[in-house]
Amino acid sequence: MKRTLFILILTSILTISLLGSVQAQDKETFVMGIEDEVSNLDPGFTTISVNERVASLIFDGLVEYGEKNKIVPGIAKEWTISEDGTEYTFTISKGVKFHDGSELTADDVKFTYERILDPEAGSGLRAKIESIESIEVLNDYKIKFKLKKPYSPFILAMTFGIVPEDYVKENGEDVLSRNPIGAGPFKLENWEVGNEIELSAFEDHWNKVPKLKTVIIRPIAESSTQAMELRSGGIDFAVNLDVGQLQSFADNENFKVKSAPGAGINFMGFNFDIAPYNNLEFRKAVIQAVPFKEMVPQIFGMLGQNAYSMLPPTLWPDDREYLKENTVKFNPAAARKKFAELKENGVIPKDFTAEIYVSNSRPSQVKTAEAMVTALNQAGLTAEVNAMEFGTMWDMLGRGEIGMFFLRFVSDPDPDYWLYRFFKSDGSLNRAFYEDEEVDQWLEEARVVSDQEKRAELYVNVLRKVLTKDIVFYPFAHSNQIYVMKDNVMELEPGNSLLIPLVTPTANVYKK
């Protein structure tokens, strides 16, 4: 009896394993693991990075990012910018098709941008194009954007995915979020919500037919599971593995590990409305007390590198040398002395505990904050970590209730996107509540001038002032984008954004 049961169990396991088992993927199917579930693929509303990653495969924009973040033609084959920088005229290639076979014309472009511009739609992308005064369709293949005043980073917003007007009008505003149709290299084949998304190559793509015929995207939240899926052959590619897992892949010749900087900046910020964080000497002492430059390589490992600027290393202007030279340096003795002084003259109140707020979904930041507490305590400042759920922390930050915080930020390759919102007095992310007339002026001017050298100079001014003189933020680590893939995956290079470049002007990923 016992033996029959045993044999029965064994045979059934064997049958199941033979039937279902770990499927050997063919060469035209590419399975990628991403860290979170995709919920909405409407390119006008995808401000959450996993959504953006998938939407970018389905939709194409007027222009694209080429090598070194240079803007290269996309659906628009050429464009002109008027002398005063307020008129952008794009010529769209003829015969560009959406996945449903209809042709992409200037009307679709107009519709795409007006949809985002509508203030009631509440799109997060609106801020990038709010300088638009009017959009004029000149003919089916020519479109003119008129700006209220020159806005130098405007061209970056021309990367937004173009959506088909007729399709949206026929099927309702929300149709793209679940059933997206674009003109990008891949079309949506099947979406099992929460489990996997299947894309297939769009054979009529205007530029390149993808070599990968099927792309399957699977959300695998647990980093160790992603790692094991890679090993067992369930996925070809993983992004966002933990530090602990990366090394074993780097040492394994069956896998390739590639990294690129620019996945975001990790920084510490101070609130200028809350004492004693608004005291420059206090902020200096906090930074002096902590050996950030030694902590970062240990905590972030391959996932990050020491930072001196708010801008990623791949973005102009390059002023790292100056910032590195003039940043506040580790000096525990000086910090101890300063904290004692500040306590004596009452800047640091009695029984004061410095609280470092950090999002609990960022393990490297939490570790940094914990190490920081130890260093601060040694220097004579009582401190503690407050690791919170992001939504709660975000809300408190918005209301100005947090004195010292860690954040990570990532954006598109223009310094304006990285600096304006944080350091302009009325910037949408001015969570430091920092106000400085000079900085405001520089930031405003840099939006208007089109000469890149002049802009670079202005941004250098801003960075020097906010990072070394006023110490509004202290950037400590650039996050790296790390891709782990099987060794037969070719032409897949991490870019400077969070998007996964499967089909780009310079690459067309395939499996050998």
Binding site: I13, I16, S17, L19, G20, S21, V22, Q23, E37, S39, N40, D42, T47, I48, P119, E120, A121, G122, S123, G124, L125, R126, A127, D174, S177, R178, E192, V193, G194, N195, E196, R218, P219, I220, A221, E222, S224, T225, M228, E229, R231, S232, G233, G234, E389, F390, G391, T392, W394, D395, M396, G398, F409, V410, S411, R421, S428, L429
Partner: protein, 312 residues
């Protein structure tokens, strides 16, 4: 009996109304709104205002509550984050969760109850000691850790089962092969606690006088154990299984994340993270409904096991 069931079913209504009120109240107290979380670093005051107006957050408390309840009952409640009806979003996942929960329940019962009974009958034997030692480990080791070990062994090393994801309904080969590892991992804690409970319940009963009576009148030992002792030990065991099963439907979050299983638990957590109030509301209400239902089933089971229990 029939009247009892009707009465219990009717009781579910006030319970759920209470749950919905508390739930809605708590959601109002949680800091953060869906608009600013959705917008992230692209946040602007205008966009937050526009979105909050779109989601109807500017209405007063009671109006929003009734609107949400009404939409939920009509099946029209729509998730903010997924832009889809809550019922659609939950539907598939609930199925996946029930599949996982049921299979692990079956596994647990098949393994745990015989183990517990044998361990009790052969108290202090080698079998008893070893199985209870394993059970103690099973209770102490968190299920997600067991899960990771399972994945390593069965999909990376032996390459028998796929490591994660949902493969389809359980009657397909693909489906069952994806289901087995998470189901076993989820069942470990239940096996451990149920076998220990079965053992101690059996031991308690075996001291009873009526077992001595049964033996002395010459009833076969097998009948004594299975019919007289085990039947009476079943009440606490069923209670425990019922509780665990109900927990499993809502609380298999860790196993769901380790195996990337598209279940309700992870969905509910995600919904809270994004302050997707309609989705939180809908998913928690449905989970509560299942919890109440499972409890009712357990109560009814008592009657089948022990006819002395009557329902009034």
């Amino acid at each position: 009996m029939f009247a009892y069931i009707i009465k219990r079913l009717l009781w579910i209504i006030p319970v759920l109304i209470g749950v919905s009120l508390i739930l809605f109240g708590i959601m109002q107290l949680v800091p953060g709104d869906p608009a600013s979380i959705m917008l992230g670093t692209n946040i602007t005051p205008e966009a937050v205002k526009a979105l909050n107006a779109k989601f109807g957050f500017n209405e007063p408390f009671h109006i929003r509550y009734f609107l949400m309840l009404k939409n939920f009952l009509n099946g029209e409640l729509e998730s903010i984050y997924y832009k889809d009806q809550v019922i659609n979003i939950i539907g598939n996942r609930l199925y996946a969760t029930i599949e996982l929960g049921t299979l692990s329940l079956i596994i647990a019962v098949i393994i745990a109850i015989p183990t517990g009974v044998i361990a009790a009958v052969k108290k202090n034997s080698v079998f008893d000691l070893i199985s209870m030692f394993i059970a103690t480990i099973g209770i102490s080791v968190p299920a997600f850790f067991t899960g990771i070990i399972f994945i390593y062994l069965f999909s990376v090393y032996f390459k028998i089962f796929p490591s994660s994801g949902y493969g389809g309904p359980f009657w397909t080969a693909e489906g069952i092969s994806h289901l087995i590892l998470p189901a076993f991992a989820l069942s470990t804690v239940m096996i451990a606690s149920t076998s220990r409970l079965t053992r101690s319940a059996m031991l308690d009963i075996m001291k009873e006088d009526y077992l001595v009576t049964a033996r002395s009148k010459g009833v076969k030992e097998k009948t004594v154990i299975l019919k007289h002792a085990f039947r009476n030990a079943l009440i606490p065991i069923i209670t425990n299984i019922g509780n665990q099963l109900a927990m499993m439907f809502g609380g298999a979050i860790l196993i769901e994340s380790v195996f990337a299983w598209p279940g309700v638990g992870r969905l509910a957590v995600k919904a809270v993270e994004f302050r997707d109030q309609p989705l939180v509301f809908g998913s928690i209400l449905i989970l509560s409904f299942i919890y109440v239902l499972v409890n009712l089933l357990v109560d009814l089971l008592y009657g089948f096991i022990n006819p002395k229990i009557t329902y009034n």
